[in-house]
Amino acid sequence: MSDSVLIIGGGVCGIQAALDLGDKGVHVYMVEKEPSIGGRMALLDKVFPTNDCSICILAPKMITCFNHPNVDVLTCAEVVELKGKVGHFKVKVRKKARYVDENKCTGCDACTQKCVLAGRIPDEWNQNFGTRGASYIPFMQAVPRVAIIDEERCLRLTKGKCKSPCIDACLRGAIDFEQKDQTVTLEVGAVIVATGLDIYDPTPVTEYGYGRFDNVIHSMEYERLINASGPTGGHLHRRSDNERPRRIAYIQCVGARDVRSGHPFCCSVCCMYATKDAMLAYMHHDDTENIIFYTDLRAFGRGFDEYIKRGESEYAIKYVRARPGEITEDPETRNLNVWYDDTEGGGVKSMEADMVVLSTAFVPPPGIRDLAKALGIEMDEYEFFKARDDLLAPMDTNVPGIYIAGACTRPMDVTDSVTQGGGAADRAAQAIKQFAGKVTA
């Protein structure tokens, strides 16, 4: 019998669950597959509907969680197997080698600067807009702020020949090329799955030219570009010429409410985040024109409708009800023509824009089916985890003692993810308490 809880996923939802449990005195293992906790929210610039700085409100939670006496965080780690029943789960976790000793590294950046590949590898944490080296810290506010060595890129690890200036640069002797992947077995009484979401890759929507036209980007790329700690220091630039876009078009529901992409569901957030994106562009330069092409405006949450109205009145956002048919590019200016059928004004029109942002859907991350299989929990047809009862047991799964929360259950925003994290924490605490009463071993 164990009274620990395993939380899979260290995004805002998992963090909330860990804090709630930790504060209750329950011991928590948090397994995060990335080198830093924080999830998607850590990479956003601002969050709707308050326009709070995302990392400013999240970072304190990340740090509290990581340093919480009741929380053990395992990064670069994934659950590969689960056995046993509620109260007696045995979970196998594979922890990938970082090649950096987490206890010694201070996050000083000396090794990342000295890496011979520094500045030569596209930085996926910045949506490939910036660059990094083989030794790197994912982002400025990473928790733990510890370097990691990319084993697929590092010359020493792949080819065995590198003078490895990182070793000398590290005054703490934290670089450890001998580190190996480890498998640890955790004993826990309950599990919370909070694996979050992925952003739909709009490449298959060929009519919008993503991947072909430099100035068509998706919303996560936009977040990094406009983020003060992003690759451009918060200056919104076009990829083609580093010029500031004066007119930005946002196309909603890309890969969402779209049978063809396999995602007929509404992604529930893109109306709001596109409005926020447009507000940010206007806040940076108030001569920026922002046009949002929407299918239906779904501003259903507290303060959402008011937010859209403010977007129109205070930030001059233009909302056009149309799903554009295609985007063409002017090969000389690299400007884009958005072709749309104005369903309220009528007729096919084209609008020239300097930049187009595709508001892409939230979708389940790739490989999530393996986790479902390892845990034995059910998924719906879109690979979201399925609740035992959507109305009355939304955090429960088909396996007693395993709970789900956040965007791995359906697309949802920060508020809902935090709410669900708290809810799942409570369900897990109850499960453990029941067992604590009848210890049978």
Binding site: E207, V259, T295, R323, E326, T328, W339, D341, D342
Partner: protein
């Protein structure tokens, strides 16, 4: 009695031939009474469609009468009539009706005798030829009118959220503000489907599936249009078929019984056979190429080149294909033109012929035929289990197996037009590109719109060829030209016709911006094969004959 009493339809010009017939009458000159005279202002007004329609309706012979050469009251209308009649004779020969059933005669206003003797002689000839075999065809009961609700449900129109992505994607809507797929669906959803059925826009859709490719809710607009046209036809409405519907005439003729066609004159020494063998059961489905070669000779269609080149390629692969002398139109255009009964009749006839020939695998160079045989035949024919391939797929397959080698370096840059049926309907985007890229010295450059986003050649099913079609064609040709390619390669005989047609007359604006040679993929392949294409069958394949037990049969 029909054999003794042939029916002749005579189109006579107002100024000479009609006056000549009149003169015969007032002069009491006797001639057989089985001619019906239709006066036209000029023999140049007589379109092939008029003649074909007369035969379709059971005429045994058609006479076109005009002024003597140099006497035409409209300068050269009679000469145009003469050329058209020549072409139409070829079509009649292909259809198995025989060229002798059509005559053209110059008759002056005072040549009553000449008119009478022409009718007498023609009547004798027709008596010998016997009645028009189409006469025997019983009039079919009108086809059932489809149920609007059923069409709408089947094609997912109820899922439409009116987002307008279809209309914003549509090449027609971008040019014609009257045409809007969104609005058409909306009308039907608002119980105003009658407006759709009776409106001219129903016939303006290219059924190119660009909208469907992009529709987030999978509304199958092309199918919705296709089946709504059946409703329109039941109301006696028709689209605006090109060439006054001559193609539709011959399609309907082929759908009815009686004809025994002989359409293989073009083979010209190429190796084919009429029945499958145990080793080789592959058929080349020719489709309407011999007919297009005639009907679109004026735009330089040369459609038979595609047929010959296809057989040359198949021969070069060491295969002697089955080619059938009485093959029918595949039925694609009747289906999309709102005549599913005609389509099904053609499908059944072809299926019988194909089954009788023991064919198991069909290669076809026309994407419309390909789509029809591969997707529509299984829908309407029980037990249709013939494998169908576009020639580009056969070529790609053979290239993969190393059974095809090229001799000539072509040294050109080409761009490629994805045909709607091959690409968006059948999902074949890669095979033609693989073939093009395998040709020595051929560089493929893509147009701005390619693959699933390719723009249609502007006309489908011989309906609605007008200013919008021309504008689409010009835009597409300009895209092709802008790539810097030397040749625009098509993989569809109709795309080739439409682009060649667009370039055959005056073009708006700068000709240099759109002028580009248009060639079929098969022609390009034959050029690269060089002597290989003409060599004895088996030569290309003998090298690998040992290990090659391909489904198509490595040797004939």
């Amino acid at each position: 009695m029909a054999a003794a009493d042939p029916e002749i339809v005579a189109f006579t010009c107002n100024w000479c031939a009609y006056a000549g017939a009149d003169y015969a009458g007032v002069s009491r000159i006797q001639y057989p009474p089985n001619v019906r005279v239709i006066r036209v202002m000029c023999s140049g007004r007589v379109e092939p469609s008029f003649i074909l329609r007369a035969f379709e309706e059971g005429a045994d012979g058609v006479l076109v009468g005009g002024c003597h050469e140099a006497d035409c009251h409209y300068i050269s209308g009679n000469l145009k009539a003469r050329d058209r009649v020549e072409g139409t004779k070829e079509l009649l020969a292909l259809l198995g009706l025989g060229a002798d059933r059509l005559r053209i005669k110059w008759v002056n206003a005072n040549e009553g005798e000449a008119f009478a003797s022409e009718i007498t002689d023609f009547t004798d000839t027709l008596k010998k030829l016997g009645p028009n075999p189409l006469k025997k065809t019983k009039k079919k009961a009108p086809a059932a009118v489809p149920d609007t609700e059923e069409i709408m449900a089947r094609t997912n129109t109820y899922l439409c959220v009116e987002c307008g992505k279809c209309t914003a994607s549509c090449p027609v809507a971008r040019r014609d503000p009257e045409f809007s797929p969104r609005f058409i669906v909306e009308e039907s959803l608002e119980k105003m489907h009658a407006e759709v059925e009776t409106g001219p826009q129903l016939w303006d859709c290219l059924t190119c599936r660009t909208c469907e490719e992009r529709c987030p809710y999978n509304v199958r607009f092309s199918e919705f249009i296709r089946d709504s046209r059946v409703e329109a036809r039941a109301l006696g409405l028709d689209g605006k078929p090109t060439q006054a519907g001559q193609m539709y005439s011959w399609m309907r003729m082929m759908a009815s019984g009686g004809l025994e066609q002989d359409r293989l004159a073009w083979l010209d020494g190429l190796k084919t056979k009429s029945k499958a063998t145990a080793k080789s059961d592959l058929m080349f489905f020719v489709g309407c190429l011999p007919h297009f070669d005639v009907s679109h000779a004026h735009v330089g269609s040369n459609s038979l080149d595609i047929a010959r080149d296809s057989v040359k390629i198949i021969n070069a692969l060491g295969i002697t294909p089955v080619v059938l002398p009485d093959e029918r139109c595949c039925g694609h255009d009747l289906l999309f033109g709102g005549n599913p009964a005609g389509f099904e009749a053609l499908a059944r006839k072809n299926a019988e012929l194909i089954k009788a020939a023991g064919v198991k695998r069909i290669v076809i160079s026309c994407p419309e035929g390909y789509q029809t045989l591969a997707q529509e035949y299984p829908r309407v024919l029980k037990g249709w289990d013939v494998e169908v391939l576009h020639i580009s797929e056969l070529l790609a397959e053979m290239l993969e197996a190393g059974k095809l080698s090229f001799k000539n370096d072509l040294g050109i840059k080409v761009t490629y037009q994805d045909p709607c049926r091959l690409g968006r309907y059948m999902g074949v985007f890669d095979a033609p590109r693989k073939v093009i890229e395998a040709l020595p010295g051929v560089e493929l450059v893509e147009m701005q719109h390619f693959g699933p986003d390719a723009i249609c050649c502007g006309v489908s099913s011989w309906i609605s060829c007008g200013a919008t079609a021309k504008s689409i064609q010009m835009a597409r040709l300009a895209e092709a030209k802008a790539t810097g390619a030397d040749t625009l390669v098509t993989a569809c005989p109709k795309c080739q016709i439409h682009f060649r047609c667009a370039l055959s007359g005056k073009v708006p604006g700068d000709r240099g911006a759109v002028e580009i040679p248009v060639e079929d993929l098969t022609s390009l392949v034959v050029k690269a094969l060089g002597d290989g294409a003409r060599s004895a069958p088996g030569k290309a394949a003998t090298k690998k004959a040992g290990k090659a037990k391909s489904k198509a049969g490595s040797k004939s």
